[in-house]
Homo-oligomer: 338 residues x 2
DNA sequence: CTGAAAGCGCTTACAG
DNA sequence: CTGAAAGCGCTTACAG
């Protein structure tokens, strides 16, 4: 199958390659009739520009990178899907690059993909969006990037968030409205800045209700199902048993739920449990977990839009490229009156 | 940051660009001293070949595509991760392309990525690996591909499987060994050829045990949690209640489990439930689901190896490129004696 | 074992 | 509004 090149189109349309180039890139300064003819020929010949030739001569690759810690998680799948669909809309392609900071030499892997692939931009998911060394590598390579849920609004890059603090506050208020007073909290790992924001939201809502936080009922997990299982035990062993457990993510909430079931503690009658994330498992549990839906796909899509926007490539420091997207409370069976 | 090119390396090493090219591509016919010098200079200058220039002049892109129906599923995440890591080993990159056959014009999307990206090869996941029209597009474009779990061994492409039939047989034998006789079966959708193979395995094991299959306890689901929920109801309403339910995937098994819990049917005391897949939710449920682990990441990695193998690119019809990988039974709490 | 020349398929920068 | 020339950074095919 002979590949059709820009020359073939040009010859058939009776114009120069440059004119064809103008048409396929949507540039101005082409007479309407000529534009039409070229478009017709492109369609007839089923011509597709060679992405490599284009990248080689221009400085753009039409490739975006998604850099992520754990690409197997359900979280990663949502982020990736959002990014993928938006890339497609924009005629970009997406390359997913796992970043395993446990492994020696991970920095070289990142550099290699930046220089070998000439990425036009990168999306950095949490928690690596908070890694200063990683950000430095992108800055050195001159690759613009957008962060998803970083700890602080960056000065010279784009960022997309949801309001973790507010969301955790709403969840706490909801538990309070159900009459709960002894609300235990399972923290996420310190490496994820979102867990601190969620804890703040919880504390603020407790304080606003005039309630003291019982620090004995505040335990740190690592976002894993297993840690929810174990910390659930500790919380149910407390002298003043909590009537509700607010876990910093769904996996830990699920662990706590299983612990409750094992010990014969009825959920939600004797204990309410809620999480954060709205992962698939939160729906597959019984009772289903009350949680916060994060706009993961939407944040990723927004990140793509920012990277592709010419204005962003000119001025990454413009605050317009720092976006906050809406979350949603998902009320389900795992929470009930105190 | 001025990018380092092959000429810079050549100049500094005192050789021609062609010699540098030989060294970085690991070709023969370079004197050891010279090879060493070049390698040293490459390291000093931190030189990375420009993937686009390389692709443009050779006919290779060093890019592999993963074509998948539903890129958000846990299944997709596993397949993708396996492919990603192996691509990295092989110095290839992976591009994930969702194929939504519900959407008009999906064929053009596929063609566009094949011709625009000049993929060196493609991995096709189920169920689209069984779509003749899709395979035709790849064949027309001359892009070699490897199928994951297709219905039949292809003649002119690679393929990687697990033995769904044998695995389902083993699971059925396990249930039989626990003393179960009334074993209901929840089928998967007809669009997934694996579900037919699993059903065959179940039927064969029942037959081998001299048991007739109760066709009333054989219901078709669509692999969704919801269908497990609904079909679980029907099965528990049967006049002859089954003592075990074998669902064709974990999501449906989880649905059936929730139904049992809602109705107060104790699992596994009054009812055993098992699934197929070993998704994350199967561990987050209580009791945890007995299931079959599919070697998803391993199959994807093997697919990458096949695509990258020069022998494959010469002769796709070689039966050596049809591989069967091992599965594993995962015994957990959702199954017990009849 | 090594290199000079030509070319991959586009775009950039410049003319007209 | 349109095009001829040069070049992006490599590899292929050919010499020597």
């Amino acid at each position: 199958m002979k590949t059709v090149t820009i020359k073939d189109v040009a010859a058939r349309a009776g114009v120069s390659p440059k004119t064809v180039s103008r048409v396929i890139n949507g540039e101005d300064h082409v007479r309407p009739e000529i534009r039409e003819t070229v478009q017709r020929v492109v369609a007839e010949l089923n011509y597709r520009p060679n992405a490599f030739a284009r990248s080689l001569s221009s400085s753009r690759s039409y490739l975006l990178g998604l850099f992520i810690d754990d690409p197997v998680s359900g979280y990663a799948a949502e982020v990736q899907h959002g990014a993928l669909l938006q890339c497609r809309e924009r005629s970009y392609h997406l390359v997913v690059e796992p970043v395993d900071r446990q492994r020696a030499g991970w920095q070289d892997h990142v550099r290699a993909s930046l220089s070998g692939l000439r990425l036009d931009g990168a999306i950095l998911a949490p928690p690596i969006c908070d890694d200063a060394e990683l950000l430095g590598i992108f800055a050195d390579a001159g690759v613009p990037y957008v962060l998803i849920g970083p700890s602080y609004p960056p000065r010279d890059s784009g960022a997309v968030w949801m309001d973790d603090r507010a969301a955790a506050g709403e969840m706490t208020e909801y538990l309070l409205s159900l009459g709960h007073r002894r609300i235990a909290f399972i923290q996420g790992p310190e490496s994820h800045s979102a867990s601190a924001r969620r804890e703040e939201g919880y504390r603020a809502a407790m304080k606003a209700a005039g309630l003291a936080v019982n620090e004995d009922a505040m335990l740190r997990g690592d976002f894993s199902f297993r840690s929810g299982l174990e910390l659930g035990e500790l919380l149910l062993d407390l002298p003043e048993t909590p009537t509700a457990i607010f876990a910093c993510n769904d996996d830990m909430a699920l662990g706590a739920l299983i612990t409750a079931m094992k010990r014969g503690v009825a959920v939600p009658d004797a204990l309410s449990i809620c999480g954060f994330d709205d992962v698939a498992s939160s729906r597959a549990a019984w009772p289903q977990i009350t949680t916060i839906r994060q706009p993961n796909a939407e944040m990723a899509a927004a990140a793509v839009d920012i990277l592709v926007d010419p204005a962003f490539r000119k001025d990454c420091a413009d605050p317009a490229f720092r976006l906050m997207l809406a979350h949603a409370m998902i009320l389900r069976g795992s929470t009930g009156p105190a």
